[in-house]
Amino acid sequence: MSLTRRDFLVASAALAAGATVTAPFLLPKYHSDRRPKRSRVAILDAQQYSERLDQVIAAGLRLFPIDVRGKTVVLKPNLVDYIPGNAINTHPLLVMAAAESFRRLGAKSVVVAEGPGHQRDTQLVLSQSGYEHNLRDEKIRFLDLNRDELIRTPLRANYTGMTNLWLPRTVLEADFLVSMPKIKTHHWSGVTLSMKNMFGVVPGTRYGWPKNILHWKGIQESILDLCATVPIHFVIADGIVAMEGNGPLNGTARPLRKIVLADDPVAADATCARLMGFEPDRVVHLREGSRFLGNASPALIDQVGESVNAPATPFQAVPEFRHLYDL
């Protein structure tokens, strides 16, 4: 069979057209692979919120080879809204314990920073949820990320189709960013853990309350773009009293009595998901994040402290996310 010049041109054009159409689906959507060779996760027992948490956190941090001497440490809790009786926010005593521990480790400064996504009056959430007096007593600065100075920041992944976001200077200039989520189910994303917690760095003054553009661009996709762009250096997850059901606001308190520390957000969240009785690979942003942001596989995680034991009864989830635990 002979190939004419015409056949060759037609075939080449078809090949080029096919490549143009399929390439976006085949090429990775992230700029760089940030996965460490191995990750470390510590599960700590904590029966209740108390002043003794600083000893628990200090002991937990000693399990990691971290060096924050002379660094600016930003603690990013999950502070959404206050509803009496609902376990919505990272508990202030855990945040104070972390702040104290990082100070003792020689941090140049420790700032607590958050941009609540539901309640516009940040000061009211701080006051009602018990942060205000703790921050004042411990002389810890709080920075409202909804109102910080903003810097246009190119995104380092392309899951949403957005090319950039305006992000707060305090977070971008942090030497050591600690995501401190509350372990909860979430009616839009399945779970809200250290990676979803990064929605709080997206400024309400620029994107509204809630940060609705992230919902329209895809919650799972937005989590991936954000975590690729703003690296989380460490995770301290509050699972002493977690939340199940219709989270993040109206779920039911679920005592887990655990704190999860990790040097890798994907490893942290995969471990939290297992503690909730969920299969991490079924959480879209964890499955995709394990391709470039961190390690979800137990084979790549050095587990210290307590072992990962799935609960006898998995966390309840809204119907759309029952596949996280159904066989």
Binding site: R120, D144, H187, G208
Partner: protein, 336 residues
């Protein structure tokens, strides 16, 4: 020496702070609460004005932004002419070519909800009339995504976890998202300031009416409003005092509507427990507009600690407006 009720007049730092300001310039003739507190806070607000004429969102910031500038311009309207004129010049300089306002100079030029605030802050100068009309025109063409037939269909058929009627739409915070309570309320307040119904502005009444219906549709089951989700996954979501107050201001002409009445009752009940100046100040403004008693709330507001050192400049400005609520309500055109 400037002092606060209940505070110490021996605090040297507080007196030094205002030594070089002409406190007497900050006339507050209509104030019904302690005028000394108000002049103290207005002086602090004036000190925070940046050389460009605008204000930053936080006291520690130097990045000017439209929202705090608008509240500050409204609060300082009794200030020396030069300062308010610089604020108005800043707003006129920062308007986008399409008639909207950005969040801050240098922002993308697609505009957002702060356009409503800007046209209200520019209500006085004749030189701002063309800019205001461009702003009004932009607002009239700015709508929540659910105003489009495709998204209406989606919200009716496949995406029904948040209870709302997509036929009733208002204004979003920013383009390409759905309507929310606060931007809708501010847009209604702004469009109610259009001096005439002429030219392309004929649709004003219809848009305001649709926005009001949207607010009623998004009310929380127990009264009041939050960001705009009254019921999610079958669960009632709690109202917020500030969102409720701002919606109540926009609904001043529907004072007798049952949803407005229940929202005002919720706010009356919630306000005494508010411990943050932003929410308490908005509650005072809304309850005053709805002819509810506010004297004890005024006392609570001035008793909050460290008002002059509030980091959030918008909150400081709204506190000033609440302490001078008659003039503030006139500026918003909602005076009872």
């Amino acid at each position: 020496m400037v002092t606060k009720p209940g505070g110490s007049d021996s605090d040297p730092s507080s007196s030094r702070r205002f030594d070089n300001k002409e406190i007497s310039h900050y006339k507050v003739p209509t104030v019904t609460t302690d005028p000394i507190v108000l002049s103290d806070l207005l002086a602090e607000l004036a000190l925070r004005q940046l050389p460009c004429g605008g204000w930053a969102a936080l006291a520690s910031s130097s990045q000017p932004a439209i929202e705090p500038t608008c509240y500050s311009a409204l609060a300082l309207s009794s200030a020396p002419v030069g300062e308010i004129a610089r604020a108005q010049d800043f707003l006129l300089r920062t308007q986008n070519p399409n008639g909207s306002w950005p969040v801050f100079p240098g922002d993308d030029q697609e505009g957002g909800w702060i356009t409503s605030l800007a046209v209200m802050a520019l209500r006085d100068p004749a030189s701002a009339i063309p800019a205001r009309f461009k702003g009004f025109d932009w607002l009239l063409n700015f709508a929540g995504r659910e105003s489009n037939w495709f998204w209406k269909w989606k919200f009716r058929t496949t995406d029904r976890h948040v209870r709302f009627d997509p036929d009733k739409y208002g204004w979003p915070w920013f383009p390409d998202t759905v309507s929310w309570v606060v931007p809708t309320a501010f847009a209604i307040l702004a469009l109610n300031q259009i001096p005439c119904s002429c030219g392309d502005l004929e649709q004003v009444a219809a848009r305001i009416g649709c926005g009001i219906e949207m607010l009623f549709d998004r009310a929380c089951p127990g009264g009041g409003w939050n960001a705009g989700n009254g019921v999610v996954y079958g669960a009632a979501v709690a109202p917020h005092a500030d969102d409720t107050a701002i919606a109540l201001l926009a609904l001043i002409d529907r004072r007798e509507h049952p949803l407005v009445q229940s929202a005002a009752q919720y706010l009356e009940h919630a306000a005494p427990a508010l411990t943050a100046p932003w929410s308490l100040a908005w509650a005072i403004l809304a309850l005053a507009a709805h002819r509810r008693p506010i004297a004890s709330l005024h006392s609570s507001l001035v008793a909050l600690p460290d008002l002059a050192t509030i980091e959030d400049t918008s909150a400081l400005a709204v506190v000033c407006l609440a302490l001078d609520q008659q003039r503030a309500l006139e500026a918003l055109r909602v005076a009872p």
